[in-house]
Symmetry: C2
Subunit: 345 residues, 2 copies
C-alpha cells in the first residue's frame, strides 16, 4: 500500500516479477478491494495471492507509534509473515522510516547488531560495478562503533550477494587525509583500520561514483543527503538535456532520435528503478525499501533483489561477521527483538 503509485505500480511490478519467477510465490499485502481489480487486469500470474489488511501506515505518521498501533497495517503484517516463515523477504515502497521501524519491531535485529542501517546502491559512473552506501537514512545521530559496524555489514552484503571477494571499504569525509573529517569519522576510521577488512581510508563524495570503492560508510543524515543530492543532479542533468532538445531545431531533434538507444542505455545506468531498492542490513530477516516513486519496473527489480538476498546465506554471514568484529569493535550488544527505534523517527 506504500509508495506514490501504489497500489497499481506495486501490483503490476509484482505480476512482472511473478511471471519471471514462476517457481516462487508472491503475496500482495493490502486492501483486497483495491488490489484484486488491479490483479484482474493481469490474467497470467497464478503464483500471486492477496493477504487482506485494513490499515495503512501513512507517509507523515510517526513511524514507531503507527507500527505499534496499527496491528492490521499492510507493513506490519508483511513483517509478521516474514517472522512466521510464510514469506522469505519483504519489499515496500512506503515511508522508509516506517519500514525500518516495522522490521525492527517485528523481526528484531541480528545478534550483536547495534543499529540496523539502510543500504543504498549507487552506480559506478566511471567504471564497472556499484557502490553500496550506508547508512542512507535510518540513523541520524551515530557513534563511531555504529559507523564501524555499518562497514562490517556493508562489506558482508557486497561479499555475499555480489560475489566481490574482498570489498574495498571507505569512510565518507570532506577530504582524503586522515586529519580531515569530524570527531565521528576520525574515530570510526581508526576502528575500521583494525578490522582486517580492505579499508581504503577516507573517500570523498565524487569517489562514490568512481568504481574505486565498494562500500561507503556514513551516518544516516549525511547518507540521506548524498542520496537525494545525487538523485537531484542526475534528474536535473537528464531533464536539462531533454528540454534543450525540445527547444532545439530540427538537426538536434534528428540527432536526439539517432541517439535514442544511447540515451536509453544511459538511463538504465542512472535510473533508480534499475537498482533493486535499498536493503535493510542488521534486521533479523530480509527487507528491501523500494523508492517512493517506484514504477512497476522498480518494484520488479526490488523483488528480484529481495529474492536474491533471501537465497544468499546473508543472515548467517552477517551474524558471523558481526561476531568476528567483537574482537576489535566494542559495541553495546542488545538482544534480538529489541524494539528501540532508529533515531530518525
Amino acid at each position: 500500500m506504500g509508495g506514490d503509485h501504489a497500489p497499481s505500480a506495486t501490483v503490476e511490478g509484482g505480476v512482472l516479477f511473478a511471471r519471471e519467477h514462476p517457481d516462487h510465490s508472491l503475496v500482495l499485502v493490502g486492501d483486497r478491494a483495491l488490489i484484486e481489480p488491479l490483479l484482474a487486469k493481469h490474467p497470467t500470474a497464478p503464483s500471486v495471492s492477496v493477504r487482506h489488511t485494513t490499515e495503512v501506515v501513512g507517509m507523515d505518521e510517526h513511524a514507531g507509534a503507527a507500527i505499534r498501533k496499527k496491528k492490521d497495517s499492510s507493513l506490519r503484517v508483511c513483517f509478521e509473515l516474514a517472522r512466521d516463515g510464510e514469506v522469505g523477504a519483504v519489499v515496500s515502497a512506503g515511508n522508509s522510516g516506517a519500514v525500518m521501524a516495522g522490521a525492527l519491531f517485528v523481526l528484531g535485529r541480528i545478534k550483536g547488531v547495534e543499529r540496523p542501517a539502510i543500504a543504498a546502491l549507487f552506480p559506478a559512473l566511471k567504471g564497472p560495478g556499484r557502490c553500496l552506501l550506508l547508512d542512507a537514512g535510518a540513523n541520524v545521530d551515530c557513534k563511531p562503533s555504529q559507523l564501524a559496524q555499518f562497514g562490517v555489514m556493508g562489506e558482508t552484503y557486497v561479499r555475499v550477494t555480489r560475489g566481490v571477494p574482498r570489498p574495498r571499504v571507505g569512510v565518507l569525509s570532506n577530504g582524503e587525509e586522515d586529519a580531515k573529517g569530524t570527531e565521528l569519522t576520525r574515530a570510526a576510521l581508526a576502528l575500521l583500520r583494525q578490522s582486517g577488512m580492505h579499508v581504503l581510508g577516507y573517500v570523498e563524495g565524487k569517489d562514490i561514483f568512481s568504481g574505486e570503492v565498494d562500500v561507503v560508510v556514513t551516518d544516516g543524515f549525511t547518507g540521506n543527503i548524498v542520496l537525494k543530492t545525487s538523485e537531484g543532479v542526475a534528474a536535473g542533468v537528464t531533464g536539462l538535456l531533454r528540454s534543450a532538445v525540445e527547444k532545439a531545431g530540427l538537426p538536434a531533434k534528428v540527432g536526439a532520435l539517432l541517439l535514442k538507444p544511447t540515451f536509453a542505455g544511459l538511463k538504465k545506468v542512472v535510473d533508480y528503478a534499475e537498482y533493486g531498492g535499498a536493503p535493510l542490513l542488521g534486521v533479523d530477516g530480509v527487507g528491501v525499501i523500494a523508492h517512493g516513486r517506484s514504477n512497476p519496473r522498480a518494484i520488479q527489480n526490488a523483488l528480484a533483489a529481495a529474492l536474491h538476498t533471501a537465497q544468499a546465506s546473508l543472515r548467517e554471514e552477517l551474524t558471523a561477521a558481526v561476531g568476528r568484529a567483537e574482537s576489535w569493535l566494542p559495541t553495546r550488544v542488545r538482544g534480538k527483538g529489541a524494539t528501540e527505534e532508529p533515531l530518525s523517527e
Copy 2:
C-alpha cells in the same frame, strides 16, 4: 601559484579577464621566473603586472601553520595587498583551507561574524537562477548560531550581488518536516525562523537544484560532501554519455554531431568553470576560491565574480545584516583580526 594547472591556467585566465576589463588592473602574485614567460605569450594585456614572491603554500600543508611561517608565500602576499588597499579582491585556485586561513589571518573577520564560510554556487537545473550553499567546507563542526549566521551572510550576498530582493533560505536536512534533522539543524532552523528573512524551513539534497531555494545552510562537512557528490554525478553522467557515443555506431555518432550545440549549452550549465568560484563570506575583504582544477575560463570567471563582489557594497551590507541579527541571534562576538583557524584545518 595554486591550482592543478597553475601557473599557466592562472596566467591565461588573468589575461582573458584583463582584456575584458581594460579599465581595471590585475596583479599576478607568484614566482616571476615562471609567470613572465607565460605572460609573454599573451602580448596585449597592458593592465597586468607581476608581484614576485618566493614561497608557495602546498596542497598538503597544514594551512594555518604554513600561512604563519611562509611570509613571502603568494597566498599571504595576496591578502596583504588586499589589506593594504593595493588590490580590491583576491582570487586563488589553491588549497581552499589555506585560502580561508590566509584571509582570516591577514584580513580578519567582519565585526560580529563568528565563523566566515565558503559559499558555493549551484545551478538550478530545473529552473532559472542559482543556489548558494554555505558552508562548503571551512567549518567542519558548527554550532546552531554559526549555521544561522551563515544564513544571514548568504542571504545578504544573494541580495546584494545578485539582486534577488528577498532570497529564500533553507536548512539542509534529511527530510522536510521540522522533526527531521539533527540537534544542530533543528536548533539552527528554530533560530532562523525568528530572523524575519524568508525562511522556507528544511530543504533536501534534491532541492538545491530545483530553483525553489536561493540560500541553503549547512555545516562545512556536509556542504563539502554535497559539493563533491554533485560534481561526481554531473561529471559521471556527462562522461557516460560521451563514452556511450564513442562506442556507438555511425547513426549515434551523426546524432551526437547534430546535438553538439545542445551538449555545449548543457555543459555551460553544469560546468563549474562557468560559476565564478566560491566567495569567502565574513572575512573583512573580498576573497574568491576558484576550483582546484580551474582552466583559464574558470579563472577568468572567478576574477569577474571577485570584481563584481568588490564593486557591490557587500562589506557594508554584511556588517549591517550581522548587526541586525544580534537582536535574535546570540553569538560570541570576536573582534576583527582574530586569528583562530576554521576547524577543518
